[in-house]
Structure formats: structure tokens, C-alpha cells
């Protein structure tokens, strides 16, 4: 059906009649199962190769940064170049421990899911450097608006392991009282904002938080994180717009782990631009950083934090890494990518690389590493055991009345009546 009212058809000039038929381009990854994996399309750079601009360098002079890769650890385990953050051995070892603790915890809790102890789990294997280095590089007054792959943040701040497991088991001691899906933690005292299943919708909260801190004249800054796939959401753009317009003291980050469930980064636009290049749209610096390099993550985060604290505004950082495990316990990645793709990943493993660095600078050895691993394993085991003693999924849960709490600060008659209807 068209308008009932018709007028003569346009006599607009038809210029340049088309000769070629148009065609629709659908991006495809380098390799699918059964094909040869490689990462030849990934733009890399040598460790130490990228200059470190002063934090107050004008944006026009840092427009090349999104197209290179900031790296500190070289292949021999040495920290090289201007971005090397100069951490002491104690900090480095603490970082290694937090990464290891994260990995061990992930492995064990993933298995707990297989054993029916929880409804859901997600690992961050291979991505541990990012959350851990950021957690350590930022301060106590700063707030992280995390993704579900940032367990390392809590690990670096010694969040109690049993509380994590209780949350994952949704048992009677779950700190979130059974209201939230496993691993969608909230830990205000640890600078860790409430997680949710919705992708990207907290990126703007980070900006608002940072603006509030600036509004009050406080000191704390905010850190927002999304995955590569999530950069396509409108909320990503709106958060960056607000951050740039109000020069909010916020660090906005993208963990580019090459995959969004089964979709490769090309589906989010990586065939034509880096994720760091999205900074150019807002006139803020965009850093592209080796996400498997603990020192590079630390240095980039620190640079951005200094800018934020000096009222110079926000920074966008892309961390280049690889999602070694499946997306979640519901996923089997061999269905959509070569089984051995991880073996071809050119940036190595973050734990191995930091360990090699510690050995290279002479403060670590295999023995100490084994001992640390053992100790962490015991800690995790103990935490799981303690949580199991409270109960696993279904076997224990918080009092049913918790279902009706926290809908509002004060319940209205609907909640009161329904609680009664349920016999509470």
C-alpha cells in the first residue's frame, strides 16, 4: 500500500548509471575448524618500540598510537623501552601470584560446574594480566566497572576466596543472597562495581562515577571495561562521548580477546580499524597494548590514570589478548574455530611471560614457582571446601525471604502481600 496521493514522478538527473551490481560483504575469520589457524592479520610491534608521550601531549600528536602495539616484555623476558613501569620485585611477584590464583580458581570452579555444583561459570584464561595489573596499578579510591572476565581484579586485592565460591554456588552464604547469576559479583569495598549479564551497559556508569568524583572535587577515578564484541553497542559510543565532552577522569578499556562467543573481531569492525582507533572519534588518546604483557598493561593503565588525575581527561585503551578457553560453560569453541588456534597466538601466555621476566631479573625460579602454585592450589581447594560445607547449588540457598529484599529500599504492599502469599 502506498500513499493514496500520487504526484508526478521525479525528473531528478540520473547521473552515472551503475554498471557493477552491488554485493554484500560478510566478514569471515582467517580459519574455521579444520583449517589452518594463523594471526597474520594482527598488526604487532617490537617490545620497546613505541615512544611514551608525556601525559599532556596534545591529542593531535598521539594519533599514531592506535595503530601500533605498546609492549614492554621482550622475547627474552626483559622489560624494555620507555613504557617499562619500573616495578619492584615484590610488586611483580604479587602480580604473578594474583594471576596464578585467578587461573587456578578458574580451573577448579569450571570443573565444579561440570560436577553440577553451580549453574554457570566463565573463565578468563590467558587474559589474567589485564585485570590483575589494573587492579594493582589503580588505587583504593578508584572504581572498576568490570566485565565478567576480570576476576583478577578481586584476586589482586585479596577478596576472600570463599565468598567468591559461595556466590558461585548460590548457597546460604552467597554475599549477593542468591539474587544474581554466578560470577556476576559486586564488591564495592574492593573497587569492583556490580556486574550484570547485559553487555556494555555499565560503561557509561564508569563515566558518571568519574564525573561525580570530579564534581565533588574528590580524587578517585574510574575504569570501565568492555570486550571487543561489545564495542558495537551504542552504549560504548555514548559513554565515550560523555567522557570526552566533560573530560571525565575515567579510563575506558577494550579487552580484545579476538572472539565474542563464536564471532570473530571482524564482526565488530576489526577488518577496517583497530579498537584503539575508536579513540580518534572522540579526540582522546587511544593506546593499543599487549594485553598478555603484565608490564605493558600496568604502564598503559598508569599513564591513563595520571592523565585522568591531572584533569586531562579520559583515555581509551585496547588490550590485545586471546580468549584461550570457551566463552563460558555453555560454549564449545571447537565448533567455530580451529582446535589449535591458541597455539598460534603470537603474544604468548601472560603468566609464563611474567614468570620468565622474574627469572630473567633473578628474583624467581622454578622451585619457588612450584611452591607458589601449590600454595595457591591449596588456598583455592580450601575455599571450595568451605563453600561446599555451606552447600552447592540447590543443596543450600539463602532464606527465600531474600527474594523479596532489595527490590526497593522499602518494600511496598505488593512485596508484602506476595511474601505472605508465599507463606513467609
Amino acid at each position: 500500500m502506498r500513499s493514496r496521493y500520487k504526484y508526478a514522478v521525479s525528473n531528478a538527473p540520473v547521473l552515472r548509471p551503475n554498471r557493477l551490481p552491488l554485493r554484500l560483504h560478510i566478514p569471515e575469520p582467517v580459519a574455521r575448524p579444520g583449517e589452518a589457524a594463523h594471526f597474520g592479520n594482527l598488526a604487532l610491534a617490537e617490545a620497546g618500540a613505541v615512544a611514551r608521550p608525556d601525559i599532556d601531549t596534545v591529542e593531535a600528536d598521539v594519533r599514531h598510537l592506535p595503530y601500533t602495539l605498546i609492549r614492554v616484555l621482550d622475547d627474552d623476558g626483559h622489560a624494555v623501552g620507555p613504557w617499562a613501569p619500573g616495578l619492584d620485585a615484590e610488586q611483580l611477584i604479587a602480580g604473578l601470584a594474583a594471576m596464578l590464583r585467578t587461573r587456578i580458581f578458574d580451573d577448579r570452579l569450571f570443573r565444579a560446574h561440570r560436577q553440577g555444583k553451580t549453574s554457570f561459570y566463565m573463565k578468563c584464561t590467558g587474559e589474567e594480566a589485564i585485570a590483575v595489573a589494573q587492579s594493582m596499578a589503580l588505587g583504593r579510591n578508584d572504581m572498576c566497572f568490570p566485565t565478567y572476565r576480570m576476576l583478577g581484579w578481586l584476586m589482586a586485592r585479596d577478596y576472600p576466596l570463599d565468598a567468591l565460591v559461595n556466590q558461585i554456588f548460590s548457597n546460604a552464604a552467597d554475599p549477593l543472597a542468591g539474587r544474581q547469576l554466578p560470577i556476576l559479583y559486586s564488591a564495592r569495598d574492593y573497587g569492583f562495581y556490580s556486574l550484570s549479564g547485559n553487555l556494555g551497559s555499565r560503561f557509561g556508569h564508569a563515566v558518571g562515577w568519574a564525573m561525580a568524583s570530579a564534581y565533588r572535587g574528590d580524587e578517585g577515578i574510574a575504569l570501565g571495561m568492555v570486550g571487543d564484541g561489545t564495542t558495537a553497542e551504542g552504549d560504548f559510543h555514548e559513554a565515550l562521548t560523555f567522557a570526552a565532552v566533560y573530560r571525565a577522569p575515567v579510563i575506558l578499556c577494550v579487552t580484545n580477546n579476538q572472539w565474542a562467543i563464536s564471532s570473530f573481531t571482524g564482526i565488530a569492525g576489526a577488518e577496517t580499524a583497530t579498537f584503539a582507533a575508536k579513540a580518534l572519534a572522540y579526540g582522546i588518546p587511544g593506546l593499543r597494548v599487549d594485553g598478555n604483557d603484565f608490564l605493558a598493561v600496568w604502564a598503559a593503565t598508569q599513564w591513563a590514570a595520571e592523565r585522568a588525575r591531572a584533569n586531562l581527561g579520559s583515555t581509551l585503551i585496547e588490550f590485545v589478548t586471546y580468549r584461550v578457553a570457551g566463552h563460558s560453560t555453555s560454549d564449545d569453541p571447537t565448533q567455530y574455530r580451529p582446535k589449535d588456534e591458541a597455539d598460534h597466538w603470537p603474544l604468548g601466555d601472560p603468566v609464563d611471560r611474567l614468570k620468565a621476566h622474574l627469572i630473567a631479573i633473578g628474583v624467581w625460579d622454578e622451585e619457588r614457582h612450584a611452591a607458589l602454585t601449590k600454595q595457591l592450589d591449596d588456598e583455592v581447594k580450601a575455599a571450595v571446601k568451605a563453600a561446599e560445607a555451606v552447600g552447592t547449588l540447590g543443596a543450600s540457598k539463602p532464606p527465600v525471604g531474600e527474594m523479596f529484599e532489595c527490590v526497593f529500599k522499602d518494600a511496598d504492599w505488593r512485596i508484602d502481600e506476595q511474601r505472605t502469599e508465599l507463606g513467609l
Binding site: L184, S186, Y193, S194, S196, S201, R202, R216, C406
Partner: protein, 338 residues
């Protein structure tokens, strides 16, 4: 006591809260220097400074997201969405984030924000400057929705909303901004001046959320309304002479169920009036509640008088608008006078 229009009363509420609480701040499209397309924030930037009342990018989701982050930090932001029709791009933020933050974090983080937005028809605004979206908020657990009908209520409710620790959608019936429109477009609308509810005190006062107002007592039937429709209803009742009780809900969440039930149990008849289109509108919830709680008192079906189930049609505004004539017909039907 000064006489104020609804715009002035809202402006007064905002000014009083800005003066009272350093954590209150206002932002939204054109609310800063200019003072808002309906002038509700006029003069606030000049009086309280750039940082207390400022312009925002045209990004409704971003406005609400930013407000939530501020609220979680500890501020009490009062963002404005220029028209309620344009609140939809922010719907996910309101539902998935503002409404759920307290629950999912077990109270670690909360979103004490008040989202002001002009809503409703009657101004020849066409499809996208006239809609009444209250039903899509009322259904969302964790959100409160407030709709004033007079300057006095507007100020008291807005202050209560800002002070509330949960997210509040504050819908302002734009057709009432400058006068108590009664749904008769052919007649001159009086200004607020001289209306008893336009006597608005300077300074802070609160009207608790969840308390309806009985605008007119009556025995023959109960009319439930809010916003512009309160004035339409009053005018219709006066015209037809049916001794109806008129309840202005003032907030639909929390809802004053006691006032509703008491009235319908007394009158035995009920008509629900709203501007939004009927199907799936908030009237359905009201009708269901009345029927569930007053079944044995009801002497006639509960009726709904609403906008038609069409988009808001520009040229047919007054054919679409549920004006006094349609309410009178319904009142006649439920009271058996038809």
C-alpha cells in the same frame, strides 16, 4: 503564598533542592544556559553555577547511564529527558540497570536518580511529542513512577522523588504546564493563577510517593485518573452531574491501593481514565486490581476510557484524546444512567 504555574512549581522544587543538597545536580538536553525547552530549569545554571545544571549530549541512554553512575557514587542526579517519547533509547538503562542495581548488588550500589520528562498529548505535537509511556515503567520491578496533576503536587512530589533512594520516573503532563486543561480544546484554558492548587509554598515540602488524593468525594462511581486526565475527569463529572468520586493516583508505583479499594467498595462502580492507548495500558492493571479486590462490591463492569489503539495521530488529536464526552458516556453506562 505565591501562585505558580506547574513549570514554576517544578523550577522552585529544583531550585530548593539545589540549594538544600550539594549532591543534587541537573543535566539534560538544553537544560543548562537555555533552561530547557519548556523552561523548567530556567535560571538554575545562572543561580547555581555551570556544574549544577548543564547541557548534555543528545544521547538519552548516555544521560541515564551517566546519572546512574553518579547516583551509585552518592550524588542525587535529576536528569531531564526532553520528551517522554525520547526516553525509549534509555529504556534498557532504566530497566536493566537503574531498576536492578540495588537488587543484584544486594544494596551495595543504588541508583537514587529522578528522571524528569514531559509526557502526554494535547499540544498538537504529533506522534513523537505526545505519548504517555507510563505502562512500560509500571511493569518494571524496581522503578517508581510519579505523575503530578497540579503545581502544588508537582513541587511536593518532585522533592520527595529526589529524596527517594530508588530510581523514580517523574512524568510531567506537559499539557498542564501552564494551566489546568480540562480536555475541552474549543474552550479558553484558564491559567493556573487563581487555582487553589497553584498556591505553592516557597521552600521544601514533600508529598509522599504512594498516596493518592481524593479530588472529589462522591457516592455514585469511582474515577481513577492521573496527570491531565484528573482535570478532564473533574470537568466531566461536573458537566454530567453524576456524583462520582475522583481519585488522583499521583504515583502509579507505588500505588495507593487502599484508597482505590476503599472508594470502589463504597461506590461499587469504577471508570479508569488515561491518555495512553488502551490495550496493555496501565488501565488494565488498575482494572484487574479493582476487580480482584472489589469483585463482590462491583455493580457494573469496570470501564476504561483511554486513547485508541493507534499511534498518536497529529490531525486527529481531539478524536483520539479521551475527553470529557467519552468519560461521561462511560460514567452513564456504569451507573446505569445510559
Amino acid at each position: 503564598m505565591p501562585s505558580m504555574t506547574m513549570i514554576q512549581a517544578l523550577n522552585s522544587a529544583l531550585a530548593d533542592k539545589l540549594a538544600d543538597d550539594a549532591d543534587v545536580l541537573i543535566f539534560g538536553e538544553d537544560v543548562g544556559y537555555f533552561g530547557g525547552v519548556f523552561r523548567v530549569t530556567a535560571g538554575l545554571q545562572e543561580r547555581f553555577g555551570l556544574q549544577r545544571c548543564f547541557d548534555a549530549p543528545i544521547a538519552e541512554s548516555g544521560i541515564i547511564a551517566t546519572a546512574i553512575g553518579m547516583g551509585a557514587y552518592g550524588l542525587r542526579p535529576v536528569p531531564e529527558i526532553q520528551f517522554a517519547d525520547y526516553i525509549l533509547p534509555a529504556y534498557d538503562q532504566l530497566v536493566s540497570e537503574a531498576a536492578r542495581l540495588r537488587y543484584r548488588s544486594s544494596g551495595e550500589f543504588t541508583a537514587p536518580i529522578t528522571v524528569r520528562s514531559p509526557y502526554g498529548g494535547g499540544i498538537f505535537g504529533g506522534q513523537t511529542h505526545s505519548q504517555s509511556p507510563e505502562a512500560i515503567f509500571a511493569h518494571i520491578t524496581g522503578l517508581k513512577t510519579v505523575i503530578p496533576s497540579t503545581p502544588y503536587d508537582a513541587k511536593g512530589l518532585l522533592i520527595a522523588a529526589i529524596e527517594d533512594d530508588d530510581p523514580v520516573i517523574f512524568l510531567e503532563p506537559k499539557r498542564l504546564y501552564n494551566g489546568p486543561f480540562d480536555g475541552r480544546p474549543d474552550q479558553q484554558v484558564p491559567g493556573w493563577h487563581g487555582h487553589p492548587a497553584a498556591e505553592v509554598p516557597e521552600g521544601l515540602y514533600r508529598i509522599p510517593l504512594g498516596k493518592a488524593a481524593t479530588v472529589r468525594e462522591g457516592e455514585a462511581a469511582t474515577v481513577l485518573a492521573y496527570g491531565t486526565m484528573v482535570h478532564v475527569a473533574l470537568s466531566a463529572i461536573e458537566e454530567c452531574g453524576i456524583d462520582a468520586e475522583l481519585i488522583d493516583l499521583r504515583s502509579i508505583v507505588p500505588l495507593d491501593i487502599d484508597a482505590i479499594v476503599a472508594s470502589v467498595q463504597k461506590t461499587g462502580r469504577c471508570v479508569i481514565l488515561h491518555e495512553a492507548s488502551r490495550f496493555g495500558g496501565f488501565g488494565g492493571e488498575l482494572s484487574a486490581l479493582v476487580q480482584e479486590r472489589c469483585f463482590y462490591h462491583l455493580e457494573a463492569p469496570v470501564e476504561r476510557v483511554c486513547g485508541w489503539d493507534t499511534p498518536y495521530p497529529h490531525a486527529f488529536e481531539w478524536d483520539y484524546f479521551p475527553g470529557p464526552a467519552r468519560l461521561i458516556k462511560a460514567l452513564r453506562r456504569v451507573t446505569g444512567e445510559a
